[in-house]
């Protein structure tokens, strides 16, 4: 239990006995500002910001890719870009948005908010947390480096169906490495996600503040936990598939090679056993954010908390049993098709339950339609539409007409933009005052919401009709006689409106970061612990005193029971000081060194320079050895009565 950590009898301090002298490369960096502080950081908040900024940059890259696709499709038989470039663009648009934008942006919120919501000072493994980010960045570089090579970017689709990925079909010319880069990039991103997830799971299970039982966890933290479990359970499937594909391409094995008896259908099963839980990996964090915003701006607890949590678990569980609905057209046979059809319908129930509970949360509340709330309400509407077209797909015979048509494109953009992106953009507005101590202008925030909302619907609503009118996906050109002209033109106009909305959104965010109105403290009258931090932005150690929890919506309770809570907190402060003060993790160079080795190795391996790849592996090994031998590190901070903080890296001797 979390309370156990406070008993001084259990507490040992290995860092207290510091070796007198250590080789220079084991010296822990101590810079708190500047480049080095970011490169060596182990602070979950800084890592969260690194994730967020990287993800938002890739979100814009993916957006530009989408705009080029829409320009090409604005008119029939357009010559704006070639078929080959179009194929690269839709492959990279999907890969970028899923793996380099939505997932890391969710990870940014996990990193920043989850430890604050559970009253912890950092995640369980701070250096590993930094490593997860750097590995993510390596994966992102490997995936995108193709744009700058002769081979071009990957062009096999984000789903990479065998045997199109085999060397026989995916190499335009000898030495075309774009597919190898795709395989390696995804593999590396998987490593990052699994590391990050294990860290979050251990943190949530072990580092909750005293009194924070599981059924008092904020829903966002619950969704973090479910997402983390989904990641560690689903990524092994794609890891295996990617290893097999890599072996086929580099060493001539025949897992998917048709000519040598390989089974391309195997790829699809492995891919979608990962790929369907992946859908929930993208949406559960968004549902968590919505479940924080709605109660705050309704001034009311979440309706049916246990059912919302439980339905999240059911979605995660059923999410592993519906993968073949992506494969209804592959000839599964009647019985399998029927089973996956029914399972898919079943998953609509826990999803619907969440919608009912959000509506129930609004009911009887005091709804203030601030900008984050606008995004949250927009989420419910758009997610509902995406959910209903999802139910239409679950009926396999109807899906035979919809599969791989623009109807599907409309469906999952309603879920991923109207769902995930709306929630993430709303989440940025919601927590911006906490993270930066500034508040986004209400007028500009709402204006950007409305432009995004209109642009999004103008873009994607017509796609339902394009799909039902027989327009297949992933087609660079279409003829003018198919009845698709006005729908496509409308969608392209919508895409530009959406782009203006996103542009407005980010301009406003950047402006606010630089010059926005200052805001401090609990400006939304919020309900969860992250708002109880002493300053905004939160200090390095998050809380001067470890919080204590007596109810769900812990901070809301604290606000009405301040005397009782203050007394308990004073006790915590005393205990913490009695065993050395606030224990903080030391920064380290080794996460980024290890990740750099992975980058060198990965890039050389994809180009079949195996000796150089081994050299990269050696750098990685060196990083791991350094990591292991630099010691656990750590230092203590002390809070004076007036709130001043003393202590820091290398000052422990002086502090005692």
């Amino acid at each position: 239990m979390a309370t156990a950590t406070l008993k001084s009898a259990d507490y040992t301090a290995p860092h207290a006995a510091k070796p007198a002298s250590r080789p220079w490369f084991f010296t822990r960096p101590s810079a708190k500002t500047g480049l080095v502080s970011w490169l060596t950081t182990v602070d979950h908040k800084k890592i969260g910001l690194l994730y967020a900024v990287t993800a938002l940059i890739f979100f814009l890259v993916g957006g530009v890719e989408a705009l080029m696709i829409r320009v090409q499709l604005a008119v029939p038989n357009n010559t704006f870009i070639s078929h080959q470039l179009y194929n690269e663009l839709f492959t990279m648009h999907a890969t970028t948005m899923i793996f380099l934008a939505v997932m890391p942006l969710s990870a940014a919120f996990f990193n920043y908010m989850m430890p604050l919501q559970i009253g912890a000072r950092d995640v369980a493994f701070p250096r590993l947390n930094g490593f997860a980010f750097w590995v993510f960045l390596v994966g992102a570089i490997v995936l995108n480096v193709g744009w700058f090579t002769r081979a071009g970017a990957p062009d096999v689709g984000w789903f990479g169906y065998a045997p199109l990925t085999s060397t026989a079909y995916s190499s335009q010319f000898a030495g075309d490495s774009s597919t190898d880069l795709w395989v390696m990039g995804l593999q590396i991103l998987g490593v990052s996600s699994v590391i990050g997830s294990l860290n979050f799971i251990v943190t949530i299970i072990n580092m909750r503040a005293p009194g924070l039982t599981m059924m008092r966890l904020p829903v966002f933290t619950w969704m973090t936990l479910f997402t983390a479990f989904l990641i560690i359970l689903s990524f092994p499937a794609i890891t295996i598939a990617l290893v097999e594909l890599m072996m086929d391409r580099s060493f001539g094995t025949s897992f998917f090679e048709v000519a040598r008896g390989g089974m391309p259908i195997l790829w699809q099963h492995l891919f979608w056993i990962f790929g369907h839980p992946e859908v929930y990996i993208l949406i559960l964090p968004a549902m968590g954010i919505i479940s924080e915003i709605l109660p705050t701006f309704s001034r009311k607890p979440l309706f049916g908390y246990p059912i919302v949590v439980f339905s999240g678990a059911v979605i995660g569980f059923l999410g592993f049993g519906v993968w073949s609905h992506h494969m209804f057209t592959t000839g599964l046979g009647t019985m399998a098709t029927a089973a996956f059809s029914l399972a898919t319908m079943a998953i609509a129930v826990p999803t619907g339950v969440k919608i009912f509970n959000w509506v129930g949360t609004l009911w009887g509340g005091q709804i203030s339609t601030r900008t984050p709330m606008m995004f949250a309400l927009g989420f419910i509407w758009m997610f509902m539409m995406g959910g209903f077209s999802g139910v239409m797909h679950s009926a396999a015979p109807a899906d035979a007409q919809q599969q791989d048509s623009y109807f599907v494109v409309a469906h999952f953009h309603y879920v991923l933009i109207g769902g995930s992106i709306f929630a993430l953009l709303g989440g940025i507005h919601f927590w911006f005052p906490l993270v930066f101590g500034r508040i986004v202008s209400e007028f500009w925030g709402k204006l950007s919401f409305w432009i995004i909302f209109v642009g999004f619907n103008v873009t994607f609503f017509p796609m339902h009709f394009l799909g039902l009118n027989g327009m297949p996906r992933r087609t660079a050109v279409y003829d003018g006689n198919m009845g698709w002209n006005s729908g496509n033109l409308t969608a392209t106009i919508g895409a530009f409106i959406l782009a203006i909305g996103i542009g407005t959104y980010f301009t406003v965010i950047v402006y606010t970061y630089l010059k926005g109105k200052k805001a401090s403290g609990d400006i939304w009258d919020a309900r969860t612990l992250e708002w109880s931090v002493p300053t905004t932005p939160p200090p390095e150690h998050n809380f001067h005193i470890t919080p204590t929890v007596h109810a769900r919506d812990a901070y809301w309770y604290e606000k009405t029971h301040s005397i009782e809570i203050a007394a308990e907190k004073a006790k915590h402060a005393q205990e913490e000081e009695s065993h050395g003060g606030i224990h903080m993790p030391s920064q380290s160079w080794f996460p980024i060194v290890t990740a750099t080795g992975l980058l060198i190795g990965g890039l050389f391996f994809t180009h079949h320079h195996f000796l150089e790849a081994i050299a990269g592996g050696c750098v990685m090994l060196l990083g791991i050895i350094g990591w292991a031998f630099e010691g656990p590190g750590g230092y203590h901070l002390h809070i004076a009565k007036d709130g001043t903080v003393t202590g820091g890296e290398g000052q422990d001797e002086a502090g005692h």
Binding site: I307, F356, P397, F465, M471
Partner: protein
Amino acid sequence: MRFSPVLFLRRAAATCALLALPILLGGWLSGPQSTFDVKGPVARTQLDVFYVTVWVTTIIFVIVASVLAYATIKFRARGPIDKNTPVPDQGHGNPFVELGLIGASIAALVFIAVPTLKAIWYTYDVPNEQRANAYEVNARGLQWWFQFEYPAEQINGAGQLLTGNELVIPAGRPVRINLRTSDVIHAFWVPKLGGKVDMMPNRGNHLWLQADEPGYFWGQCAEYCGESHAVMRFRVIALGAEDFAAWVENQKKPARTVTPVNDAPKAAFASYDMTPKQRNSPGYTAEFDAHPFAAWTALQFPDKDEDTTLITQGRTLFKEKNCITCHSIRGHEGIGVNAPDLTHFGARSTLAAGLLENSKPNLHRWIINPNNVKPGNKMYVGVNGMAGYMDVDPATKAMTGKVHIAVNDTEARAIVEYLHSLK
């Protein structure tokens, strides 16, 4: 009154919705690949299931959306809120409401599940009582064209009847189509006749469909299959029983041979436009689009003003330019199996896998510069280690950048005349 951007946007959205309605009902759902304009029992069954899902979800949507809209408006905070505003009731929910809603959701899904299950079994294969009447064909996907094989129509000494990119079927009869691929995954989709099924390597997939009436239908590959996936298209032509029998009989004949007549070349022979076309320029005329079935029918008979001299030249060139190593022309020199069988090419309404109308200028455009029409096509880049228009290094199978086959306008004109004589 003060200008309210929110109100303005709401009104604008409502106006747009009203204006958009006729467009939606008019053009947006009635294209040649519309899944609403169904012409056979399989597509009709799939559409019926779709309507069930639409009705059930629409009813739920209207109910939930009304409650959501009502709650948002009714419980909107009156005036500004700060920490001193009295808080609303901090209720945590009602288990009976929750369980009731879960029960209602499950009940609604049963409405969808029952017709879904029935349709899964019905659309999977030809119903038993009609199996004796079913006609069987094989459809094979290749990068980036379709080959159709007629196992029921064996030709003495030449195996089964083959066609490329145009599947002719009997109307009013169930047709069972075995789906095969020679390279990557493709999908066979003729929306008006039925939903798609993939052509998977190492897997014997099939589908069935039936055209109620004779007609001309658009189809397209629906699984991403590489560079020119977007232009991998085909047609299905359904014929009445007698017409179908006549078509089969003609198709089984060897290629038509035209004897050169010692006439002066006819004035009409160069009458088409040979100026190079821009990449992706459309390959159809408005007349063809308006009456595709009539256009197809007209192509079944030889042209009246054929240039027999040019046809003979074209046949020689077809051999000399090495076209015969990949294309079969039964009864003539062509013996290849890597490319579409062209024995009755002149009787097809499209070329380059449904991309272009089979007219002389279009065929000319295709033969002169195939890569401009369909990037990466095998006639240009080579196939199975054999060079196409471009030279291929036998070791790496990569293009060397040298030209292997070049066709000039005069030669192309002769080849066009020859291929169009193959009715």
